[in-house]
Symmetry: C2
Subunit: 280 residues, 2 copies
């Protein structure tokens, strides 16, 4: 008998599937269904509530964009907050920056960290770093209650349905703004301008009322719908292009497979339909 097994991320009018060799982990946590699969061509894959979060082969696209542009634009990012990011990829990239003294990570679902520690050794590599402070808590509640002031906040969440829903509303961003130093930056994954267009548009309308600078980044992400993914760069002071000091990248020994100086600029090169969508 030959088993031809596929996993599909299924949407109303589109499906994206990878061939599966093995099911390694399948747990219903308090918050979501957590699944780890061994795929045929992409290494191990993490699915939350049926949506593909990452594959080992392609995760660098997402983690490069959600971390490095803000970290290189900021003059001295010492204190970083990661909300979500239970797979460990964002933490790994943040800790490549030598200025970083402390990273707080607030992940709601301990099962995601558990799965990552067990199955994603290249992602979970920094959980035991003494600079990393891992908390299992609700990120919405955390930014509401904390008095900490961060240089960078990375909102590495799942999609705006399920446990991450509240990470996309105005209260959250107003509280996150208050949790930044005067020159702080927030980066958030914000779905795709080709997918959830209304959400994407509303996100920037909302955040332009809160932040002096609220700009999309548009990057390649082959594991996500249409391969085109959006992130927001929300900044109290630094402009992502005008305040981008290329020498910081040139003088850095950080190795990346996607990000570089030209890619940094390209993330802010918006197709005309994106300009129309966000009204620029």
């Amino acid at each position: 008998m030959k088993i031809d097994s596929w996993i599909f991320e299924a949407h109303d009018d589109m499906k994206h599937g990878y061939k599966v060799k093995d099911i390694l982990y399948h747990q219903q946590s308090k918050y979501q269904e957590v699944v780890v699969l061994e795929t045929e061509g992409y290494g191990k894959a993490l699915y939350l509530d049926g949506l593909l979060m990452l594959t080992e082969k392609h995760e660098f696209f997402y983690h490069d964009v959600i971390v490095h542009p803000a970290m290189f634009v900021h003059k001295n990012p010492e204190y970083v907050l990661i909300i979500g990011g239970g797979d460990g990829g964002s933490l790994r990239e943040v800790l490549k920056h030598k200025e970083v003294k402390k990273v707080d990570m607030v992940e709601i679902d301990e099962k995601v960290v558990e799965a990552s520690k067990k199955f994603f050794p290249t992602l979970s590599v920094e959980f035991d770093n003494p600079k990393a402070n891992i908390m299992f808590d609700d990120g919405i509640k955390f930014v509401k209650e904390t008095n900490n002031k961060y240089d960078i906040i990375i909102v590495d969440s799942s999609d705006p349905i399920g446990p991450a829903e509240g990470l996309f509303n105005e209260d959250f961003y107003r509280n996150a703004y208050k949790s930044l130093k005067e020159d702080g930056i927030i980066v958030s994954q914000v779905e795709s301008p080709l997918f959830y267009e209304k959400f994407f548009k509303a996100h920037f309308e909302m955040n332009r009322k809160i932040f002096p600078i609220a700009m999309p980044m548009i990057g390649f992400e082959p594991d996500y719908p249409y391969g085109m993914w959006g992130y927001s760069f929300l900044s109290r002071k630094y402009h992502p292009l005008n305040d981008f000091n290329e020498d910081k990248v040139i003088n850095s020994d950080i190795k990346t497979r996607y990000y570089n100086i030209e890619v940094h600029k390209a993330l802010f090169a918006y197709p005309n339909f994106v300009r129309d969508l966000i009204g620029e």
Copy 2:
């Protein structure tokens, strides 16, 4: 009874599927299986031998990149050759440029043009333009035998398996080079740097021996594998960035949904793994 019908572009380890409302056209031509479907979310879709060529919703990504960067970099593109392009999308974009006096289009498969005329009115719009000269012939044979000298040659082919295979080898590019004026440019679709990596690498190794300038363009293309697509910019004289006169775009009244000055530059912003692949 409710029919839940999907079409999948199926690869060894990956599938990409769209929900289908209706099958509009299904013919085996002399060269390939030509299928037109009405999809649920993407308008009509054209498949050749089971591979998705375009959807009405997303085709602008591909046609913007294969046409406009070269047309704007060239100082005066009057005479253009399109090889393939039977859907009409490249012809439509080329004829938006007012300098163009004549376009020869050499498509091997009359059935593709027939299907486009019937089902893709927004693509087939320029087939009857007096500047357009449509020939049904083999593009490989055409560039071998022609004495014409073109300003721009656009190789808008299907994939390097099936009837388009010979459009990717060295003989073809040497003949195409000879069919250019001294400052001519060729643009070709060359699959994805994430897909057929070896082919992509070999294409640039080969063409750097033929052309003084042989550079990739990397663009978003949500209908194609991973949403990240590659094109080659092969030029006898003009450099795509150093000789790019932004005023030509600023002073143009051509409307595009993807392409603009910033996107032009972003197409040449290579991720590190692409630099490594092509040895730059």
